[in-house]
Amino acid sequence: LGHPQNLKCVTHNLHKMICTWDVSPRRRHGQTDFCYTTNDLPTPVCFKTKEKRVEIPVPHSSSTVTITTNSISETKVFKIHKKDVLFIPVTPRILSLTPDFSTSTLNLKWSDNGSLFPDGLDAVWQIQILRKETMEKVTQVTYHSKLTHEDIILSWNWTSDMPLECTSHYVKIRCYINVTQFVGLKEWSDWSPVEVIPGKDTDPSESGVFPLDTVVAVGSDVTFCCVHEEGQNITNMSYGSKPYPMIQLSSRSHAIRVLNASASDTSGTNVVCRLNNGMMEGTVLFVGYAPDIPQNLSCETPNFQIIKCTWKPGRPSGLYGKRRTKYSLFERTSGKNVSCEVNEMNRERVCGFPVLPDQKTYDFILGVSNPIGQAESSLLVDITQRVHPKTPEKLTVSENNSTSIHLRWFINGSFAQIRLLCQIEISSGHSEQKIHNVSMPGGKFSAYTAHLNALRPYTKYQFRVRCSAAEQFWKWSDWSRVEEYTTSEA
């Protein structure tokens, strides 16, 4: 009677172990002599304690423990084998739990206490997420890491299926370390203290519908919640014109879940929470598409001043105003970036990029992005091979004699880097249309001339001209306006 029993030893770090025992039946707290010895200790180590708990080294193989309860001079000897020692890792400590309300994401940071253990051990972490006033378990996730004999701060993100504002979210964590060389029993650590991100339903002054004015992709599932003031009740919650069944999160927060959301109208889909006092709270959801990869990206220059890039946008995003799809043209060689003004309503997409001094080749990336996603297309182009001159202007005709004339026209642009090929179309009532090709060095915002012979005297002719790059043909300019001229009599 009264002797020590149920001796148990637990280690948290594989070096020291905490041994505890019972004394039955429970006796007044007396002084105890505690001695232990192992094969590699010359003499037993003894000390007095009033506690029924001591910390001693973990033995290589076994320890002999002698516990003497002085008040009744009862002595009990225990043999502790290493295999009987229980290894429970230290309870993890959450360093930080940070919410990102815009993405409904929680970021968890904790220390792996790796310095307590030899290098290279596998650690398994269980992270539990709880929610609502009733702290219901939402999910439990397993995370693996390797210990490195240093204290490493681990980080983990979790995205909630509902806005963090809706109700409080709680997180706790525990770990299991797979110490293969430790022959004793191994168990999970205790759960860490719970960390909480309070919902808006815990703040008396807060109310509203969440998420506030967000953008999602078509087909998304979205949870909305209505946080209302104490004493108010929700009569119904609707998405668009359709009421939805409500899920209670707390006394001040109810949610609805919209599945497979379809594209919203231009002004978004209203989510309305009607309260029993007749008032309404609400939010707007914008449902659209991520931008498609721009197709048929093509760039050309009309005048060696500007490069015009065009492309096919693909499926409309269904997002407008400040949520519309935005375009930018980035040129890798120069590092220059241009944002493009694009009218979402018209289908044609054009973006201008300045011709840069002494640069012929352009390595373009057309970047496309909207709140749902982004895409890009690239194009490497030598602009001397992509000349699409503007329409020739101010075509004039002057006469040399009754069978030869002089044509003069102007092209807006700087073509000094290339030769131009121009076609002069000659029409008259009498004969078939003729095309006269003429090539000339390009000029800088200059006029061009050509000489036509072998015309018939006293004949009415119509002339028009178009031009293109001579060496690397890309596109003809449009035809100039027609200029009429009647040759003089012979």
Binding site: G208, V209, L212, D213, G240, S241, D265, T266, S267, G268, T269, N270, V271, V272, G278, M279, M280, E281, G282, T283, V284, Y320, G321, K322, R324, N343, E344, M345
Partner: protein
Amino acid sequence: MAGADSPSAALRRHDLCARGIRLAGKMRSDVLDLLDTYVEQQGLDASASVAAVEGVPPAAVERWDEQTGTQRLLENLAAYRAFRSLLAQMLEEQQEQLGEADATLGRALAAVLLQVSAFAYHLEELLRLESRGPPSEEEDRPPPQPQGLFEQKLRGLGVLRELAQWAVRSARDLRQLAKPSPGASSSPSPAESP
């Protein structure tokens, strides 16, 4: 109004009142059309109840018939100056939120804004007739920023509804002003002390 009028001033006031009444009538019908477009375009429920919108002067007034002509004009002018700034903000918000996606609503809003500005100028003309002139414009305090888009939509609904009410009230006020009866005259301004 300004004590005994000279015949030309009375005629001028009557003419301004008559034109103001027509302007108010046109404005009201355009605002009602705009309301329909707005409700549909913003996905709202036409019967939605909207709390009083901060910054929007209520059209309803107690003891309407006891108001002097000057009070009527001053209250009307304050209201339409407020509506001018609210509608300008709505137009800006509409451009930011929808861009080119809904030019119809944008054009309708701009048209009503133009009418409101014209009506405010018209009221200033009437006040000038009183040789006291309209009060100087206070620095347009930007209307309070709603918390979210839905609240913004409801506020727009509230502004347009109230503006439609004001158009009715303005027509009544101007008819009252147009009457030659003394009841329509204002308290004597210092210059006119009998």
